[in-house]
Symmetry: C2
């Protein structure tokens, strides 16, 4: 991560920033469609219409390319703050509300479903996500909530969210695909609530 | 499925049955490790040390090879009957108990995790599983339970089970990987109970 922080996320010159964005977009599509293993610096460069050396210049490694292009396309900090500011009794339903509405944005669903596809098909992508995800949204949420076993709660919440995404969007289970957002929230909310703030056995 | 039913599942001659088992074992490993797309009749034949024509003779197509080798390695009918025979109030915890203990058997975990990996990496595998899974265990369970919206309930139950499997075994979230079976059952049971038999919003 230190190598990344040393360079700005978007280039100073419009040209560099546009090129970098094109590389990121191509990488996001490939990681999501064919997985981590079969996505290469070379294949991303070809799809973005640039030289592989330029991909290396911006991202240093395929691992770094994955971590940066699969980052959440929104800032999770204010989301966590909002969730913490509301009533504790409704935090599960409010988390479900935020995430299920966020999934309506293709920029969000591409990243979140791409992560799951990549992790399921490649141990290296799974390892990268295992390091990345706990610091993002659900991890900080349970840690700042003042509950016991925050890491375990975050894992349980993630398990229900990941599973709904797999069943609803990746496998395409009909009865779930037919649900509208509000009903989905109503089904997932209570499970998330128990995992987030309920008493754990 | 009709082409399959026309030939016996295990050969009459010990030689044929052993060869078929070797092909199935090789296919299971490849589907689970590299996914549906990159597994071929040819690659399975090579791993099993047989001619590709023999794989075609036994399984007719890669799709059929997937469906047969990714079938549950136990008969779900008596499991469903047992679950239905017990108290309705504990059916969620009893389902979690059965599945989490079943996952301790490598024959079961290979198939269930292999299915998720394959579905996540390939739309064709996802489609095959979407046709296969509802007739197996959770689908018959909710349909015979006498509850409203059985298909939706089966989808919700599956979503939590799939997500736990992804987070616990595929991504390897530490706090979940550290759980023993009894605690896992205690966490998942109430969610499964609500999806199976609770009032749905």
């Amino acid at each position: 991560m230190t190598t990344t922080n040393a360079r700005p996320r978007s280039g100073r010159r419009p040209g560099a920033s546009g090129t970098r964005a094109a590389i990121a977009a191509a990488a996001r599509v490939q990681f999501g469609d064919v997985g981590f293993d079969r996505t290469t610096i070379r294949s991303v460069a070809a799809a973005a219409g640039v030289d592989p050396a330029l991909v290396m210049h911006f991202y240093c490694s395929k691992q770094q390319l994955f971590v940066e292009t699969m980052a959440l396309p929104f800032d999770p900090a204010p989301v966590v703050a909002d969730l913490l500011a509301g009533e504790r009794e409704t935090i599960g339903i409010r988390l479900a509300h935020f995430l299920l509405h966020a999934m309506e944005d293709p920029a969000v669903s591409t990243v979140l479903l791409g992560r799951i596809r990549a992790a399921a098909s490649d141990p290296e992508a799974a390892r990268l996500l295992r390091d990345l995800v706990p610091g993002e949204l659900v991890g900080p949420l349970t840690r700042e909530l003042g509950v016991d076993q925050p890491e375990l709660r975050a894992g349980l919440v993630s398990s229900q969210l990941i599973g709904f995404a797999v069943a609803r969007w990746i496998v395409g289970v009909e009865a779930l695909a037919a649900l509208d957002v509000e009903r989905s929230i109503a089904f997932l909310g209570p499970s998330l609530q128990r995992f987030l703030a309920g008493p754990l056995p």
